[in-house]
Symmetry: C2
Subunit: 218 residues, 2 copies
Amino acid sequence: MSLKFIENNTKVAYLLFLALFSIVICTSMSTAVPVLNALKIFKVIGQLKTLKRTGWVQNDISLPESVADHMYRMSMLSFFITDPSINRDKLMKICLCHDLAEAIVGDITPYDGVSKEEKKKLEEDALRKIVSDIGHAEIADEILSLWLEYENGTSKEAEIAKNLDKFEMIIQADEYEQAQGKRLDRFFESTKDSFTHPEVLEWNNALRNDRDTRLGNL
Amino acid sequence: MSLKFIENNTKVAYLLFLALFSIVICTSMSTAVPVLNALKIFKVIGQLKTLKRTGWVQNDISLPESVADHMYRMSMLSFFITDPSINRDKLMKICLCHDLAEAIVGDITPYDGVSKEEKKKLEEDALRKIVSDIGHAEIADEILSLWLEYENGTSKEAEIAKNLDKFEMIIQADEYEQAQGKRLDRFFESTKDSFTHPEVLEWNNALRNDRDTRLGNL
């Protein structure tokens, strides 16, 4: 084997190594979210911390919870769903994302004079704007899919998330009633037929039973 | 085949069916969280919505965020970690659970005169009390494991969650500085060496760079 042959082979190996190294670096870099996009979306998400839930504001609740507070407990409720037929991690992610559009359009309630269709359109447009600003197709698709799945109720996880959304609201209503001496019947009446999943249905029945006892309705 | 034989076999089949049915019902019932325990823990979790983060209270921030608000955005930050070597769903669950003990002991900061060891013990005792009240060993173990993993930093997910905890705090500090005309240097100084994961490190550098530009420190 001549010295020239070894030298050439070393060069080839070196070039191959460089090419491979560049591919690895570029691939790993291209998967990260562009940093300015990341900071922008983090600020959008942060708006959910200062956005107060409209239902409480309309009922003169003092220091009402934020939309982020609501989604936090709702996500935690997922831990307590033991139904083995569902993907609980997906349920948790749906809970975390389902009100994300409110960071842009606010918390529109059935009492705000906005039709259901109009609300849906406003929220979907806002959500599509939020995810288009992520600058990362895979993450954008994931969040959009979770959100649409919830909106359209196209999976068992989405259906349970809808149960948890309503149930989290009535636990909160019950807590405000006790802490602030209020009557918040509207929230209990509007959700009385909302529960379909046996576990949430059982929690709902027990909560309403406790409330009825407290209010002397039994 | 005599009538007696058929009759006996029918009886046996009927008893077997009853036994099997009872096992199925009992098993399915035993997997659910007992309803009174569920309602109790949901109220404990709810306390994180009204618990204000001590760091902001000590710095006279108006209407400071809740511990639940903080954990909400922290959990959402998990969506933006693209590191393929981690279990992102686990990271999300660690973020959701890591401050759960504060529902009992409050948000103890390094400025409260409580030693690190004492704080750790207070929080671990509180967390163990919370999970022991769940009445469901599997869920209790899961939440305790996620919490201990974070506390002891025993996984890559726990390490990233610690990065996200600090990073979420400085985005919030930056937002309060801008919205409330404050200087919150303490939060930036105490965390300047906290970031180890390349993605969070990049977010941190960009955020500090923006802040330095805003404050004319560059």
